[in-house]
C-alpha cells in the first residue's frame, strides 16, 4: 500500500472510531464531554507518522485522534470513555484526559494551553539526563496560543534550544469565537520574534502534506537547532464539544466547511479500502463490546492514587 493510502486508512480509522462515538452518545454509554476531532484526523495521523516511537507527545482534551494515531490500544480507549475499570486510566480520566505513556502519549489536560510547558520541561529533563535525539511535541489549538503560558514556553524553550515541536492545530475557532476576535498577532511573526523556525501547512486535510511538513520540522529539530513551530490549518466539522453539528448557530458559515470537505480524502472514493474498512469495523465493534462488558470501578478505586 502506498504511503498515502496507509495514512488515509489510519485517518479513516480515527474517523470511524469517532463516528461510533456519535452513534453511541445518545445511549448515555459515554457520560462525559467529548471533543471530537472529526475533520482534523489527518493532522494527528500525518504528524504521528513522522514521529519515532520514542518521541513524547503532549496532547489536549481534543485528544482522540492523537491517542489513536500513536497506536495506543482501542479497547482501553472505549472502556475509558465509558468510565470502565478496564479503561486505560481505570475510567478516572475519560475522553478529556487520554494518556498512554507506553505509546508516548503523555497526559492530556482540559485546561487550555496547560501542557505546552510540560513538553518543554520534558525536553529539558532529557538534556539533563544526557544527550538523545528524542523530540517532544506540544499539541494545542489556535486558542491556546493566546495564553501567557504559550509565550513563556516559547521564550524558555528558545533560550535553551530544546527540541520541542510546537504543534498548533489551527481550526480557527476557540469554542465559537473566530480568530479575528481573539488574536492581533501573526503566529509566523511571533515565532520569528522568538527566533523559532516556523513551518506552515495549509493543506491540513492531506495527511501526506502534513507528514512531509512535519518531517521537515523534525529534521530541523533533530539537527539540534532548537525548537520549531508548526501550524497546520484544519477544520472542525462538529460542534466544539459533543457529537452534533451546529451550523444553525450562526457562528460560522457552513459553506466554509463544505468547501473544505471537498478536499477531504476521507470523503473521497474509498472503494479500494473495502477490506481495511471491514477490519476496522470489526476492531471497533470488538472494542466497544469489550468496554460494554467491563465492570465499572467501585469504591476500592475511589481513594487510590491520590498522593
Amino acid at each position: 500500500m502506498s504511503n498515502r493510502d496507509e495514512l488515509i486508512i489510519r485517518s479513516l480509522r480515527v474517523r470511524m472510531v469517532e463516528e461510533k462515538i456519535i452513534d453511541l452518545y445518545p445511549s448515555d454509554l459515554i457520560q462525559s464531554p467529548v471533543h471530537l476531532s472529526i475533520g482534523q484526523e489527518t493532522v494527528a495521523v500525518g504528524v504521528c507518522a513522522a514521529l519515532d516511537d520514542r518521541d513524547m507527545l503532549f496532547p489536549n482534551y481534543r485528544g482522540h485522534a492523537f491517542y489513536l494515531a500513536r497506536k495506543a490500544p482501542l479497547k482501553e480507549f472505549f472502556a475509558e470513555l465509558m468510565g470502565r475499570k478496564t479503561g486505560i486510566s481505570k475510567g478516572k480520566a475519560g475522553s478529556m484526559h487520554l494518556a498512554a505513556p507506553d505509546y508516548g502519549v503523555m497526559g492530556a489536560s482540559a485546561v487550555v494551553a496547560s501542557t505546552i510547558s510540560h513538553a518543554v520541561g520534558a525536553a529539558l529533563a532529557e538534556r539533563i539526563k544526557g544527550k538523545s535525539d528524542r523530540v517532544f511535541v506540544a499539541v494545542f489549538g489556535d486558542g491556546a496560543t493566546e495564553q501567557g503560558a504559550f509565550f513563556e514556553s516559547l521564550n524558555f524553550c528558545s533560550i535553551h534550544g530544546l527540541p520541542v515541536l510546537f504543534l498548533c492545530e489551527d481550526n480557527s475557532l476557540a469554542v465559537h469565537t473566530s480568530l479575528d476576535d481573539r488574536q492581533s498577532f501573526s503566529l509566523e511573526r511571533l515565532s520569528d520574534a522568538f527566533g523559532i523556525v516556523f513551518f506552515n501547512e495549509e493543506a491540513g486535510f492531506d495527511p501526506v502534506a502534513v507528514f512531509e511538513t512535519t518531517s521537515a520540522a523534525l529534521r530541523h529539530l533533530r539537527g539540534g537547532s532548537g525548537p520549531a513551530l508548526l501550524r497546520v490549518k484544519t477544520m472542525r466539522y462538529r460542534e466544539h464539544v459533543g457529537p452534533g453539528e451546529d451550523f444553525d448557530a450562526g457562528y460560522r458559515a457552513e459553506r466554509t466547511v463544505t468547501q473544505w470537505k471537498k478536499k477531504d480524502p476521507l470523503l473521497g472514493d474509498l472503494s479500494r479500502f473495502t477490506a481495511e474498512i471491514a477490519l476496522i469495523r470489526d476492531e471497533i465493534d470488538q472494542a466497544v463490546e469489550f468496554a460494554i462488558g467491563s465492570d465499572f470501578p467501585g469504591i476500592e478505586e475511589l481513594l487510590t492514587d491520590v498522593l
Partner: protein, 350 residues
C-alpha cells in the same frame, strides 16, 4: 404559584446590570456567543454593544483588565465557565484586587464581580469540578458568595453590582441552573452577605452551601416523616456568613452537620467548627459531622462520581445518627437516586 429558574435569575441580573448602569460591562470567553454562558448573557451583545466583551483565552490578564476597569469607573462582570479556570486569575484576585483598598490606605476601590461556575456530573472530571470557596474565603478583602436559589441570586447580585465597592466572587453551581424554584420564596429581607435561615427546626442544625442546601431540604423533608426536625442554614456568603445565626442554632440543637460542595479539610466544615469552638465547644453535645467531596480529585467515571459526592442518603443517614445520638438509627434510607439523577435536567455534552 409562579416559578423561575436559577438561570433566569442570573439572566435577569445581567440584563438589569447593563440596563440600569451604563458603566457596567460583561467580559469573558463566550459572553457574546449563542450559548451565552449557559443562557445568562444571551443577546446582550447586540443590545449593549461595546459593553459585552468577548475575550481571548487569557484569564490572568483579563482579571487584571477588570481591575483596571474597576479603577477607572466601569463595573466589570467577568465570567469563567468553570471555576477551575479561575485559578489562572489567582494572582490578580488575591495579590491585587483583594489588597488594593487596604494596601493604598483607601486611595482606591476595586469594584468587580467574578462569576465562576462550579461544574459537576457528566464526567466533568478533576479539572472541571472544583469549588474554590475555601481558598478565596481565606483571603481578607475578597467577598465570596454561593447563591443557592434564584432569590439569592437576585438579592446578592443586585446589591453587589449597585452597592458593593470591592471584588466579589460568585460561585454558581452548574446543576442549579435549570432547576425551578417557587417564586414566593423571595423574601424582601434576603441577606446580601451573611447567611439565610432556610428552614426552622429543632433537632439538628445543617449548615449547607450552594446545591447542598437543596440536598439538605430533600433530606429534611424526608426526615420530617420520621419525626426529625432539621434546621437548615444556607451559609450563602462563605466569606461573610452570619456567625450569630450559626451559634444560636447550634445552641438550640446541640448537633451539627456541615454539607459543603468542596473538600472538608481546610474547608467550610473546618471554618464553622472553628467558630463554634472559639465560642464554646460544649454547644455541641455530639461530634459534628462534615460532609463534602471525597478526599481525592474528582474521577470522571460515573460510578465513582456517584460515590465521590455526598447525596441525600448520606445526609439522611448522618442526621438520623445525630438525632439518635448513636451510630445506628431506625430511619430507612431513601432510594439511592443520586442528586444528578434526581435533578433530571443535567445531561451533557457540557
Amino acid at each position: 404559584m409562579s416559578s423561575r429558574t436559577y438561570r433566569s435569575a442570573l439572566e435577569t441580573v445581567m440584563v438589569e446590570a447593563l440596563e440600569n448602569v451604563p458603566s457596567t460591562a460583561i467580559i469573558g470567553q463566550g459572553v457574546t456567543d449563542h450559548k451565552g454562558i449557559f443562557g445568562t448573557t444571551l443577546g446582550l451583545h447586540d443590545r449593549y454593544p461595546g459593553r459585552v466583551i468577548e475575550t481571548p483565552l487569557a484569564e490572568d490578564s483579563i482579571a487584571g483588565i477588570c481591575i483596571g476597569m474597576g479603577l477607572n469607573g466601569v463595573y466589570p462582570i467577568n465570567t469563567h465557565i468553570r471555576a477551575d479556570f479561575g485559578l489562572l486569575a489567582f494572582n490578580q484576585l488575591i495579590n491585587l484586587a483583594a489588597k488594593y483598598k487596604y494596601m493604598f490606605g483607601g486611595l482606591f476601590e476595586v469594584p468587580l464581580m467574578m462569576r465562576m461556575v462550579v461544574g459537576r456530573s457528566w464526567g466533568q472530571g478533576a479539572q472541571h469540578s472544583q469549588s474554590l470557596q475555601s481558598l478565596l474565603s481565606h483571603i481578607p478583602g475578597l467577598a465570596v458568595v454561593m447563591p443557592a436559589t434564584p432569590q439569592s441570586v437576585l438579592a446578592s447580585y443586585r446589591y453587589a453590582i449597585s452597592e458593593h465597592k470591592g471584588p466579589i466572587v460568585m460561585l454558581e453551581h452548574r446543576l442549579l441552573y435549570e432547576l425551578e424554584f417557587d417564586d414566593d420564596e423571595a423574601s424582601p429581607s434576603h441577606p446580601i452577605f451573611g447567611s439565610r435561615l432556610d428552614r426552622l427546626g429543632s433537632d439538628v442544625t445543617v449548615v449547607a452551601t450552594s446545591i447542598m442546601v437543596l440536598e439538605a431540604r430533600r433530606a429534611a423533608d424526608y426526615l420530617a416523616d420520621f419525626g426529625i426536625s432539621v434546621e437548615i442554614i444556607d451559609l450563602h456568603s462563605t466569606s461573610h456568613y452570619d456567625k450569630e445565626m450559626i451559634l444560636t442554632s447550634v445552641e438550640k440543637t446541640g448537633k451539627l452537620l456541615v454539607a459543603d460542595t468542596s473538600w472538608t479539610f481546610y474547608g467550610v466544615a473546618a471554618e464553622i467548627n472553628r467558630v463554634i469552638a472559639e465560642k464554646n465547644p460544649r454547644l455541641l453535645s455530639l461530634p459534628s459531622v462534615s460532609v463534602g467531596m471525597a478526599p481525592a480529585p474528582c474521577p470522571t467515571a460515573k460510578s465513582l462520581e456517584d460515590l465521590y459526592y455526598p447525596d441525600v442518603r448520606v445526609l439522611v443517614n448522618e442526621v438520623a445518627k445525630l438525632h439518635n445520638e448513636s451510630d445506628g438509627h431506625s430511619v430507612p434510607l431513601p432510594d439511592s437516586e443520586s442528586m444528578v439523577d434526581f435533578y433530571k435536567h443535567f445531561r451533557g455534552p457540557f
